[in-house]
Symmetry: C2
Subunit: 117 residues, 2 copies
Amino acid sequence: MSGKLDFTQEVQQIARISKALSHPVRVYILQKLSKMDSCCYSGDLVEELPVGRSTLSQHLKELKYAGLIQGEINPPYIKYCINRENWEKAKKLLDDFLNDNKSLNISCEETESLIRK
Amino acid sequence: MSGKLDFTQEVQQIARISKALSHPVRVYILQKLSKMDSCCYSGDLVEELPVGRSTLSQHLKELKYAGLIQGEINPPYIKYCINRENWEKAKKLLDDFLNDNKSLNISCEETESLIRK
DNA sequence: AAAACATTTCGTATATTTGCGAAATATAAA
DNA sequence: TTTATATTTCGCAAATATACGAAATGTTTT
């Protein structure tokens, strides 16, 4: 009976993907994997990143859980690479969110009274 | 002397923006403000959202701190609207991050051995 | 001046995130 | 079979995020 909305699937998905991108280590990993168009060993990444092995492993797990990367077992290594399918979906979701503005007019007068922290 | 990298400004900014987008309440607010191309009172938003006034206020504060929205004082109300300048910057940062892939070939063989949670 | 209103700040509780080292797992090499 | 290697899981501590209600702030209306 209240006017409270449930969040749409879209809103929830955008928040979930953004959360996956909300840490520099994870942004770095995704940037590298998507640019390199190849796979990376966890051991290679830990050399470049300012975190320990177990911490890196957790970040990889989160990205895996979010569906943005996948690991190919290649004993005793695990090669990580972008999950292209989900990466494309994530891109589309964020693109739509960022660019679906009704107009770009500035209707809110920018006055001197704007709150500044 | 270690091979550890510092994160680039770009990587840090992407993580910071993504963090601002990592909660459904904040995604909803940004979606609404960017689509409506108008301003909103905190009181209007609290009617629609499943959080209390003080909690909403905190989310608005975070978005303000991230530079994505601004509040125009209109006593006794405060009208919130998108900070168009920073919103455009955020869009560009994320767009570049999402779309700057060297190629889209799938070089990582997708085998049955993919790790699945 | 007092009452009403919109919003924020404060204090607090709980949950989640981040990080580490040690131990566990599993494979390859000796 | 023992040893070395790559990675993950576990247990824990510290930091951060989320949420609420009560109190504070500041403005308008009465």
